[in-house]
Structure formats: C-alpha cells, structure tokens
C-alpha cells in the first residue's frame, strides 16, 4: 500500500519533511508509527511521546487504533492551536 504521509508544525520540523510517500503494509496508524520509528532517529524522536501527537486519516481526526485499509493520506501533527 502506498500512503501520502504529512507532518505539521514541530513534527514537520523534527522529521525535516512536510510530505512523503510511504510504502507500507501497516494495518493501523499505530503500526505505521512503529514502522516509521524504526527507520531513522528523527522519526523515533518525533514520535517519542504519542500523547503529544494527533493523527488524521484522509483528513478526518483519528486515533492510533484507526485502520489504514483503503486510506490514502495520513497526517501527524501536535494538538491544534488555531483561533
């Protein structure tokens, strides 16, 4: 499965990219995070405390248990601070 993965705010800065294509067979968001952590220290650092990370799957807020079957876009970001 090929996913577009997006990073915002300090997650973007720590990982050093705003967007990348990821080939994965991860079944859930948590599986995808585990895969990314294994890749390089910058991912492990960015995802070191998942309580500080929010996730959207196909532009809808989701949690770590959310399935990725059929998903096209996953975004990681800190809690929102608009308004």
């Amino acid at each position: 499965m090929s996913l577009t993965v997006l990073y915002f705010a300090w997650l973007r800065e720590r990982i050093g990219e705003s967007e990348e294509r990821v080939e994965t067979s991860a079944a859930t968001v948590a599986d995808l995070v585990a895969e990314l952590r294994e890749r390089e220290p910058r991912y492990a650092l960015a995802f070191s405390d998942m309580r500080a990370v929010r996730v959207a799957v196909d532009q809808e807020l989701a949690d770590l248990a959310a399935p990725l079957a059929g998903a096209r876009e996953v975004a990681f970001f800190p809690p929102m601070t608009g308004g």
């Binding site: 705010a9 532009q59 308004g83």
Partner: protein, 151 residues
Amino acid sequence: MSVRVQAEDFDLGAELAALRAGRTDIGALVSFTGLVRDVTAGAGAISALELEHYPAMTLRALGAIEAEAAARWPLRASLIIHRHGLLHPGDQIMMVATASESRAAAFAAAEFLMDYLKSRAPFWKKETRPDGAHWVAARDEDEAALAAWDR
C-alpha cells in the same frame, strides 16, 4: 453559512454588514475576532506569529464545525474566516460571526464555534519571541471548554 481560509486580512465591519444585508429576520448578531497580542503571559514580547495549516483538512473541519453549530442552534447566518501565514501584533487572526433570532442562541453558537475551532481545526501557531521561535502549546482549558459542550 460560509467558511473561508485565506492569507489576506479581512474587513470585520464589511463582513458583519454583509451577513445581515437586506435581512429583517435577525435579532442578534455576535462576532468574535482573534487578534495577535504582543505578549504571552510569562514568555515576553512577541514580534511575529506564523500560522501553519493543513489545507486539505481545514475547510472540511471548519465546515463540519459550522454544520454542527447550525444543527444545535437556530442560526440565520454564520461565518468563519481564518487566516494563515505570517502575522504581527495587532493583526486579525480569525473571526466567527453568528446571527440568530435570540441573543442566547447567537452567543452560545459563537462560543461553540470558537471552542471547537481552537482544538479541532488544523491550525498551528508559532510565536517569534526574544528567546527564539516557539510552537504555541495547546492548553488543557481549551480541551476542557470543548468537552463541556457534550455534557
């Protein structure tokens, strides 16, 4: 009902005038405007504020928040405008406006929109201060304000 995300500034007075133009069924019009302050408590002077957002998700999230408000209160009209990009102290960040027959509905819907937007619309603020640029942390009280609407 209308949602806009833009880098440009907006004219608060013109937006509020347009919302009620030609209408005689609005008894109460409430607006909220968020502005860049030059100081954050305990963190010193702010010289700039960078607003990052997630374009593909932003309009969808704001539209869903506005639809939820319209389902909860009898709104005659509503508007959300949120800016992104580089702002400076005194600049307008965003606005919401709600129009209803009654003041209670207009006030409640405006506060609801703000509480949801604060914690559910994909915007992130980065402040430039004397000690560098810092991402603004989400506040527990914002999540608490949101949770209160489900009680």
